[in-house]
């Protein structure tokens, strides 16, 4: 099933970017506390809670073109908190490291890649820090 939008123009040179229709899941958020958990692709929001230990999470491939995914760090006190993306745009953009509370990454799934693209790094409590990606 396809959910992507295709735009055509008499002047195609004016359109250069790939546009995806965002798709969001109707599902409750999840919170992960284990040391090496798999982030669900069946929810929009995943919260990483490193209260007791570091969290090295993994993100598998998305389910549908345009799927949105948000991963946020609730607690980072227990150790290193990061997310490894199985199919990233680039092997140099496949590990997100969360360093402060509120660090958040937003991704969109491009099934034609296929890959997850990070389209936003932010800190929800609006301090100067954001996650790093490498």
């Amino acid at each position: 099933m396809s959910s992507n939008l295709h735009w055509y123009s008499t002047n195609p040179t004016t359109i250069t970017a790939t546009a995806l229709t965002p798709v969001i899941l109707d599902a409750a958020p999840e919170t992960l506390t284990a040391a090496t958990p798999a982030v669900s692709i069946n929810t929009f929001l995943t919260i990483l809670d490193a209260t007791s230990n570091g969290v090295a999470a993994t993100l598998a491939d998305g389910q549908i073109h345009g799927q949105l995914k948000r991963v946020t760090a609730k607690v980072v006190a227990g150790g290193t908190t990061n997310l490894t993306i199985a199919s990233a745009v680039s092997s140099s953009l496949n590990v997100v490291t969360f360093t402060v509370i509120g660090d958040t990454v937003d991704l969109i799934w491009n099934a034609e890649g296929p890959y997850w693209r990070v389209y936003q790094l932010l800190d929800t409590d609006r301090n100067s820090s954001t996650p790093t990606i490498a």
């Binding site: 959910s3 992507n4 798709v23 109707d26 069946n42 609730k74 929800t124």
Partner: protein
Amino acid sequence: MRELEIGSDGVLFSVTQAGTEAFFVPVIPKAAAQALTGAGAINVTSYYTAVTSASGPNALTLADGTVKGQLKKVQLIVDDGGAALTIASPVSSSLDVVTFADAGDFVLLLWNGDAWSIIEAGNDADGATAPAVA
């Protein structure tokens, strides 16, 4: 001349995968944000409602959404006794009351055509806490 293609199966706004979860194209009303002080009704005609509680806890209500995929964000921006939001049509009767206790508390809801589903809850002042949902 431009053409918009919505996919050969003609389905754009509601895509169902095998299993119980469902995907929705998020829809945001084009309307100014609502500012609400004290008790009252959260509107469904705007995306964002900023609540200022006054000698709370204040009783808030949320009626049914109007379009599948509609997003609604409700946030307590000034706390004076908190506020309790009752969702008329929640996905579960055990998820129908959101208790805002601190400035910055917010919920993000998705209307699935039958019920409001909370897809994110948090606090953008501290990045870690969240309103209680019960």
